[in-house]
Structures are given as structure tokens and as C-alpha cells.
Symmetry: C3
Subunit: 158 residues, 3 copies
């Protein structure tokens, strides 16, 4: 298998570790999956397709992601529930130098502290991934949610 | 990793692109994932196991798949909803020359235009995949649905 | 791709075959995925995190798994339903000689004989996998379920 063919394979492991970080509640480690000048956005499919600049959450630096984690910790939002990500295989859409654009379908199940389980969000990650360093980092992560009924809780990382 | 070991890996990317084609609503591209003389069938697990020749949908050429797309477009069935496929890892069941038989568990979530999300179908793909050309093509795709409560909407590609 | 990099890839195929064995109802083949002196445990996330030794099911040999299959067959529990596993990508947590520790998020959908479909269990496999033989075998499989509302039916393999 050539280096190029192997790339989505390695990216897929990265996505799985990213999901585990959130599912395990290790929120403080979450910004570390991004580049310093990253873009992270949660947006509905409808807004994305109509090119409406209306996102549920937007950050344009790793520092902003850290601020979000601090806010979530202070509000104890994450403590009342947790997530389980199920990821479909990653595939590459484009490559430009050391930046790879890839798509990964995701499904997030939410489990409340009382044990109730519900399908919380489905959609796709559209990622631009920087390959310069020792580990692939997200230069951009666009979380395109299928439903426009977006819970305010979506402010929690997806 | 040997060429043989890498095969399910490449097949898995192909499945992911197949799913994205449907989820994105690019139905006109869907027949292009099949060989000209393909077989495509949606069948319940019960009918499959009892070897009953009762399928929900059957086509035995790429042209028939194209006809189905035309019918779906005219009926505007696909416009009122979309799908999200979540695929489990692909594994190889058998190989005979340039034909590989492989299995992939699938889950399809349906999202209505109003934003309601529901688990629509689960099951497995039993695929015979032709490896002659530049890209793997489905010589046969058998969609074995777990539930026998099959919605007529299943006429939409799975 | 180096041998080491390829390892989670091969482990992932193994997980997919393990899931297919259960989903197909081939319960008698299930113990064959484990080493003779294996440990298999189903435990809730809450018990796991609090290190409470309370599992829903525990076995410490392949023989005990076989006994469980016999009991399930006699009770006809498995005949009234089946499962569908959807697995997220596997990633490696640690390696010690020929033992690899790996994590795989799972989702199990339950389908009753009447055709009703429900999200049955989500969680993660924490596996210690022995690589000595021709095929990877589970030396330990810890099934950490997200919900503490664990159905007694969970005595069926997950």
C-alpha cells in the first residue's frame, strides 16, 4: 500500500482518537487535535448548502476552543451526560500540499446520567487536515449536522 | 501490507463514497458505482434466509438503476428527506479471480425536511465487487435489511 | 505502511468478523474468537469508572463462554431477536510484546422477530488481543456499556 493510499487509513485513526477524547470527557485535551489557527464550525446541512453564514458554533483559533471548554466546565453541562461517537470510514476529497480534505460520516448518541440513550446528532465532518507535524491536526473542522433542529447543547464539542 | 491484505481497506473507501453519493442526493451518479450487467437487490433478512425470491427492489442492469433514479426524481420522493449512512468495517468473505465478495454492516438514518431524525434501516451489504477497472465496481449488491417491516420508501437507494 | 501501522487495520477486520458471528446467530463460533484462558466482561461505564467489581456478565475461560452459549440456546433467548453491530474504527492504546490493547466504539441495534428495531446498547470494547497465532484472539474483552440501565438480555454476547 503506497503512502498516499494509506493516508485515509491514518486519518481515520485520528478521527477515532478525537471522538474518544470527547466521549471520555477529556475536554481539556480536545483543542490539542487542532492547529493553533484552526477553524471549527458546527452548522446545519441546510445552512451549509444555502451558504448561509449561520453556524451554531464558530471558533477561529485553538485558544477559542480552550475558552469554550472552560465555559462548559463552569456550567457543568458536560457532567450531566456523555456522548458516544460512531464513525463511518474516512475518505479523501482533495489534497493540496500538506493539507488533505477528507469526509467522515458521524453519529453521536447521547447518554444522560440517568441512563437514557438517544440518537443526538448525525452528519458529516468536512475536515482540512494538516500533515506537517508528528500527528495530523485539524486545520479546519466543519461539522455539518443533518437536522436543523439543533439543540443548544450542541455547544458541546461534536 | 500486502496487496491482498489491503483490499478490504480500499473496498471500504469505495463503500464510503457510495454512501456519500446517496446521502448527498447525487442520485444520477449512483448507477456509476455498478457494472453494466450488475444485480442490485433489496431484500429482508427473513426472505434472504428462507431463500424466498421476494425482494423489495430488484434490478439486473445499470440501466435499470438509471430508470429508477428518473422515477424517483419525477416523484420528488427524495427531495422530502435525506439519508445518512453509517458503515461498519468491510471484510472479505471470498475471492474468485477479479471478483471479491465482501460484507459491510450498514445503518441508515433518515432525516425529514422538517428535521425529524429516525433510525430508518439496518442490515448488511453482501457485495460482489469487480476489480478489473480503475475503480472497484459492484457486480452485485445485495442489501439484506434486518427488519421485515420495509417501508415502501425503501425504493430509494440503500 | 509498516507492519505496526497496519495492526489496527487487521484488528478492525477481526472486530467486524466477531460482530458478524453474533449478528448471524452463529453463537457456537463465538468462543473461538477468544484465547483459552480469556476474560470476558460486560460492565456499565459507571461501574467501570468507579472501579466497582460489578459486571453484568463475567467469564474467565473460553469454556465458560461455551457454557453460556449452551444456556442461551436452551432458553431460546436468541431465537426471538437478532442484533446488528455497527463498529467505529479501532485504535491502539498500548502494546506489550504480542499483546495489543485497543479500543473500538460499538453500537448494537436489536431487531425483534416482529420487525421492531431499537437502539439496544452503545459503548466501547476495551480489548487485549493476542497476536501469537494465525489469527488475533481476544485475551480480554471488556464491554463497557454507556448506560447503566442494562437489560437482562445483555447476557447475550455483545
Amino acid at each position: 500500500m503506497s503512502d498516499d493510499a494509506a493516508r485515509p487509513y491514518a486519518l481515520e485513526r485520528r478521527q477515532a482518537r478525537y471522538a474518544a477524547c470527547i466521549d471520555d470527557g477529556r475536554l481539556e485535551d480536545w483543542p490539542g487535535f487542532f492547529t493553533a489557527d484552526c477553524r471549527y464550525q458546527i452548522i446545519s446541512r441546510e445552512s451549509y448548502e444555502k451558504k448561509l453564514p449561520i453556524g451554531v458554533f464558530f471558533a477561529n483559533s485553538r485558544g477559542m476552543l480552550g475558552d469554550r471548554v472552560t465555559a462548559l466546565r463552569e456550567a457543568n453541562i458536560y457532567e450531566a451526560q456523555h456522548y458516544r461517537h460512531i464513525l463511518s470510514p474516512t475518505f479523501v476529497l482533495a489534497r493540496d500540499g500538506t493539507i488533505v480534505t477528507a469526509q467522515t460520516n458521524y453519529q453521536v448518541i447521547r447518554i444522560t446520567r440517568e441512563g437514557a440513550t438517544m440518537l443526538f446528532s448525525t452528519g458529516r465532518y468536512l475536515d482540512r487536515i494538516a500533515l506537517e507535524g508528528a500527528k495530523p491536526l485539524f486545520a479546519e473542522k466543519l461539522v455539518v449536522c443533518d437536522s436543523r433542529r439543533i439543540d443548544t447543547l450542541l455547544a458541546i464539542p461534536l
